[in-house]
């Protein structure tokens, strides 16, 4: 975890900067209009806010279903927090490393990106270790004959050699550990995406769509261990990431007139309502009879692995509506009530990992200490509080480290001398 949490103070502002939402991309803008970014020089707090909220929702969705689960957006439409997280990650990564690529060139920017990839990889392996510990505990202590069949899933513990190597190869990914490998693969291709995006943005986006289409046509995916495929198919999910990058590098500005159109807003709202109704039929099967059979057959299954078009459209509609009704100069963004979410969004990798860890811990508490609806709510709430508190500490540390910028640099050099450092 050290190399992840230490990173803001590690004297490498550019890699830490990825987690900070960039200031708005258009450098010269008369007045902030509702659709595009805030005035130049200000941070785009909306990105931080939504990424922070997405991290909370991912955490809640990773816990066993409880009262809080009903608050997560996947119960109200097709897409869920993962879409938000990947899109905003593409946006911020393209913004930060795009600037680095312009300033310092392809090689240096790529090196920085690869360093970031390494950090994410280490974070993933760290989480895997925790998972292994938890699973091993369950395997040795839990022998309820009701679940004899399901316990077969733990057979992989009989060959730790294979399992651990497969995990290092990102092919063995237990439940809830699918997002980081996706992120790693996407970031690995970021240098290439950025290089092309800075020259031919529309062509890059077009290529991304083509890869997405080919993936659907030919069922491309990466193999997983012991069998099956990656739960988040990188060939499909790259579309959101690249779309985020495209928006960051000027696409959002170009779409501004489109986004202010009332017709588009109407379409988006209609689609969101339709999606909401369809989702409702999942929870109340009686309503299912109002959905025409033809639509049902065409629509199902709504594939998460390959980022179903319906999910992608749902995300776009959500984003369009959010951008429309939440101007970047909305005073609420400065309110102390949204501060925790914004802080979490500003430290996304750390908070994401912490969230996965807390979800494991939450499962553990619910299984070993106490169950019940009340404890569920307590676990969910305390998880969010812990995430926010950790984000506040990271911010504080970053601020302190930035103040003593020189000290931090020399401390880093000393650490290097001592064989440490990041």
């Amino acid at each position: 975890m050290t190399s992840v949490t230490d990173q803001p103070a590690g004297g490498l502002p550019e890699s830490a900067a990825e987690d900070r939402a960039p200031p708005p991309s258009p450098p010269a803008r008369k007045a902030p209009d509702p659709v595009s970014g805030p005035a130049p020089g200000e941070r785009e707090l909306r990105l931080d806010l939504f990424r922070g909220l997405a991290l909370w929702l991912i955490f809640v969705d990773h816990l066993p279903p409880n009262l809080f689960t009903w608050l997560t957006i996947r119960n109200y439409g097709f897409s869920d927090a993962t879409e938000i997280f990947i899109f905003i990650s593409g946006y911020t990564a393209a913004f930060v490393y795009g600037r680095a690529m312009t300033d310092r060139g392809f090689v240096v920017a790529s090196a920085r990106i690869l360093k970031r990839v390494w950090q994410i990889y280490v974070a993933h392996v760290f989480l895997f270790t925790i998972f292994l510990a938890e699973i091993s505990y369950v395997a040795t202590s839990f022998e309820n004959p009701l679940y004899t069949e399901e316990m077969g899933i733990l057979d992989f513990l009989k060959q730790p050699d294979v399992t651990i190597v497969q995990a290092l190869l990102l092919k063995f990914r237990p439940v809830n550990m699918d997002v980081l490998p996706l992120y790693i693969v996407l970031m690995l291709f970021l240098p290439l995406i950025l290089w092309l995006m800075q020259r031919k943005p529309d062509l890059t986006l077009g290529l991304s769509v083509v890869i997405y289409a080919i993936t659907w046509e030919f069922d491309l995916n990466l193999p997983a261990y012991p069998n099956g495929v990656w739960f988040f198919n990188p060939f499909a999910w790259q579309l959101l990431f690249v779309f985020g990058a495209w928006c960051a590098l000027g696409g959002a500005k170009r779409m501004a007139p489109l986004l202010s159109s009332r017709i588009l807003l109407g379409i988006c709202i209609a689609y969101l309502l339709a999606a909401f109704f369809v989702t409702l039929t999942w929870h109340m099967p009686r309503l299912g009879h109002f959905v025409p059979r033809i639509i049902e057959q065409w629509m199902y299954p709504i594939n998460k692995t390959d980022l179903d078009v319906l999910r992608f459209m749902h995300f776009l509609a959500l984003a369009a509506v959010a951008v429309r009704f939440l101007p970047s100069n909305w005073p609420g963004l400065r309110s102390r009530w949204l501060k925790p979410a914004i802080l979490c969004g500003q430290h996304s990798l750390e908070i994401f990992c912490l969230g996965v860890f807390l979800a494991f811990a939450g499962h553990f508490v619910l299984a070993e200490v106490a169950g019940g609806a009340l404890i569920h709510v307590v676990v969910s709430l305390s998880g969010i509080v812990i995430m926010s508190a950790a984000a506040a500490v990271f911010s504080w540390y970053k601020r302190v480290a930035a103040k003593g910028g020189k000290d931090a640099k020399s401390a880093e050099a000393n650490a290097d001398l001592a064989g440490g450092g990041s």
Partner: protein, 253 residues
């Protein structure tokens, strides 16, 4: 706190369920909310066989979780048989369990001809999804397999009931169940086949404290009781889905 919440939930449930209970009330702890036992799909062949032939031949195709220890009477198929005989004393009920251990839906679907060979069940209860979820089979492939299986069973002339995965609170960190539950719900809707939502029912029992599914004990008592309740619920489900009125049957005879 948990016990109190459980008791309150029990009391509430009892008040709603007891109004419906006809014959012998189920043992305490077996209550299932009515919405988990209602289905829009009907079992026409079951209704017909019960009315005209006075018999009901059921085949259960299941994986390991269809049994407690081995293929004895303590698993839910055996308990369902007992419950059906109890509720329909004038009907000749037979339940045949076809265990397909460690077989995915695709495996089962591919060997249905063999499983059904020479048998003509009125109703096939197909419990599936667990092996697929454990092996993380592509949900698309799982859907195709369940699709084909249900179609083949219907073509063979049987009514079909789908039964989904078990709920296990400790399994949630290890097995991703949601896509497989979704697929089964969708296929059930598409083929107008009743879905016995074992997952939600067990989840409900765990939430209300009727069963402590976190239980660590190695004894088989809990498993036996859960299967007994599942068997009873399944019997009620089948009778309701076939619109059979046990009282009417009795007067007819």
């Amino acid at each position: 706190m948990k016990a109190i919440a459980g008791l309150i939930a029990l009391a509430l449930l009892w008040s709603t369920v007891s109004a419906k209970a006809e014959d012998a009330p189920p043992p305490p702890g077996c209550e299932v909310p009515a919405n988990l036992l209602t289905t829009e799909s009907t079992l026409k062949k079951v209704a017909e066989a019960v009315k005209t032939e006075g018999r009901l031949d059921i085949m259960v195709i299941g994986s390991r979780s269809a049994t407690v220890v081995a293929a004895d009477g303590t698993g839910f198929p055996g308990r369902m048989e007992a419950a059906l005989r109890d509720k329909l004393p004038t009907i000749k009920v037979s339940v045949n369990l076809q265990l397909q251990i460690k077989k995915t839906a695709a495996d089962v679907s591919g060997s249905l001809a063999q499983i059904l060979d020479g048998k003509q069940p009125t109703l096939v209860i197909w419990q599936t999804g667990t092996v697929d979820a454990m092996r993380a089979v592509d949900p698309d492939d799982f859907r195709t397999a369940v699709d084909e299986g249900v179609a083949a069973l219907q073509k063979h002339g049987a009514d079909v009931v789908l039964m989904n995965l078990q709920y296990g609170p400790r399994m949630e960190t290890m097995i991703t169940t949601a896509p497989y539950l979704d697929v089964m719900r969708v296929v059930a809707q598409q083929y107008e086949v009743p879905l016995f939502d074992r997952f939600s029912i067990m989840h409900h029992w765990n939430e209300t404290g009727q069963f402590d599914l976190f239980n660590n004990s190695r004894g088989i008592e809990l498993a036996k009781r859960v299967h007994d309740c599942l068997g009873r619920a399944l019997a009620t489900f089948v009778i309701d889905a076939a619109h059979i009125k046990p009282a009417e049957l009795r007067t007819q005879q």
